[in-house]
Amino acid sequence: MTAACAQLKDAQHMIYLDNAATTYPKPPHLLAQMAALYGRIGASPGRGSHDMAALAEEYIRQARVKLAAFFGAPDPARVIFTANATDSLNLAIQGLVQPGDHVIATRLEHNSVLRPLYHLQREKQITFTLVPFDGHGVVDPQAIAAAFLPRTRLVIVNHISNVLGTVQPVEEVGEICAAHGIDFLVDGSQSAGQIAVDMGAIKASAVAFTGHKSLYGPSGIGGLVLHPDLYIRPTRFGGTGIDSRDRMHTDYFPYRLEAGTPNLLGIIGLSLSLDYLLSHGIEQQHSRQMALMERLASGLLEINGIKRYSPGGASRNSAMLTVNIDGMASQDVAAILDGDFDIAVRAGLHCAPLVHEDLGTSERGAVRFSIGQFNTEAEINRTIAAMAMIAKQHS
C-alpha cells in the first residue's frame, strides 16, 4: 500500500472491509487521472465529425483490446460495455434463452442471475434447475451434468460466491458444457481482478464482469465478454453512431449489443485501473490478501461464540469471510463495528438468498468481511480485537 493511501486511511480512521461490495479506496491518483483524461477527450465517442470524438472512440477501442487480452478472449469486438455485472448478466440471459429452454444455475447465485431466471420462469418462457453446493461451498460439476435436459440451453455459474468466497470449478463445468454443446455463462463479478479468468481455459461462452469490485475501477461500468461463436440476440436498440439510415439495429459487434452514448468516464477509469492492476501483479496482490484473510479467519475462530460459514482451505477460497456472533443479529454486529470501531462490513443476505437459506441464516443474515488491496495487518488485528470485544460483551 502506498504511503499516500496509508495517510488517507489513517486520517479517515475507517477500516474498510466491504471490498466485495465495492473496492475502496481506489488506486492512488486513479480518480484524478480519470477526470483529467475525460476532460481532454470527453466527446461523444464515434458520434462527432471531429478529432476529439474519434479520439474518444479510439480510446474505447483500445480498452476493448486490453480487456480481451485480460480475459483471454479472441475478439475485442466481442467485449461489450455495460453498466455493471447485473446489466451484463441480464443482457446475456435475456439474449440467449428462447421460449421453452431449460437453464441450469446454482444455489450460490446472486440475485442478478436468480431474478432474471425467476422472472422468465414466471413469464413461462423457461424452466430452470438450481444445483446445490456441498459442505465446502463448492458445486459438483457432475451434478450440473446430471441436470442436463434435452432443452438445456445455458449453464450459469458464479465463479466466486459472494457469500462464502469459495471458488467454483468452472474449468470442469466448461469442459462438460463444451462436450454437450451447451453455452456456459460465468459470473465473474467477484473473480475478475482477484484470480485469473481466462475464457479459453474455462471454455466459457461468455463472462460477465463489473468494473468497481476487484478491478478497482469506478462504479457504473461493467462488461460482457463473448466467444465469437456465441449467438446472442440484442435486447436494447437505439443509436450506435454507425449505419444511422438503417431502421434496424446493427448486427455488427460490439454495437449489436450496445446502444446509446457509452459511459466514457467509466471506461477510462476501468482502463486505467486495469493498467494499475497489471503493473502491481494480480497474483501477488491476491496472495497478500489471502494471507490477511487467513489471519482474520484464525483470529476470529479463537473467539468464543463466533460461527464461520466460509469453509477453510486456501486453494478454493478468496479473500472473503462470513461469520455470525451467537445470539446477535448480523445487522447489529455490523452497526457496532461501524459506529463504535469504524470498521465497514456488510451484513444481511448479500443479494444471495439461497446461500443463506441453505446455511440456515435466512432470518438473521450474516456478517461478511471482504479484504482488498489496501487493507493492512494492523487493520485486521484491530478487527479481530473489535469482534472479540463485541462477542465478550454480548455473552
Binding site: 436468480l114 446477535m328 443479529a329 445487522q331 447489529d332 452497526a335 457496532i336 461501524d338 459506529g339 463504535d340 456488510r346 451484513a347 444481511g348 443476505l349 448479500h350 438468498p353 439461497l354 437459506e357 435466512s362 443474515g365 470485544m389 463485541i390 460483551q393 454480548h394
Partner: protein
C-alpha cells in the same frame, strides 16, 4: 416453499387495546400507529416488563430524529444522540438495536439487505 418464494405480508394484531398492522418481523406497518402504550406492549412481548428512563430516552431520540429528518439515524448519529455506544445500546434492548430499539420506537423496518 422457500422464504425466497413467499410474499411478505402484514398482519393485523391487537396491541395495547388497538388493532394495528405489523409486518413479518413485528415492525409497525405505519409509523403513525406508535404510542408509548404500543412501545410498552411490544417491549413486554420481548421480555422487558418496564421501560427505564434510558430506554425511553433512546426511543424518543429515534422517533424525534425520524420525524424531523424523514429517515432513521445513522450509527454515529445514534451514538451522538443517545450518549450510548452501540454495544451498550445493543445490550439495553433484549432484541438488540434493529429488532429492539428501532422496532420499539416504531421506525420502519429497514429494507436494506434482508
Amino acid at each position: 416453499m422457500s422464504r425466497f418464494d413467499q410474499g411478505r405480508d402484514r398482519q393485523l394484531r391487537w396491541i395495547a387495546g388497538r388493532q394495528i398492522y405489523l409486518d413479518w418481523e413485528n415492525f409497525l406497518w405505519d409509523s403513525d400507529d406508535w404510542s408509548e402504550a404500543v412501545a410498552l406492549a411490544l417491549a413486554r412481548e420481548s421480555g422487558l416488563e418496564t421501560l427505564s428512563p434510558t430506554h425511553w430516552a433512546v426511543i424518543h431520540f429515534l422517533r424525534d430524529f425520524y420525524s424531523y429528518h424523514g429517515r432513521a439515524p445513522m450509527n454515529k448519529e445514534i451514538k451522538q444522540g443517545t450518549g450510548l455506544n452501540l454495544m451498550e445500546l445493543e445490550r439495553l434492548f433484549p432484541q438488540g438495536i434493529k429488532a429492539g430499539a428501532k422496532r420499539l420506537a416504531g421506525l420502519p423496518n429497514p429494507k436494506a439487505c434482508l
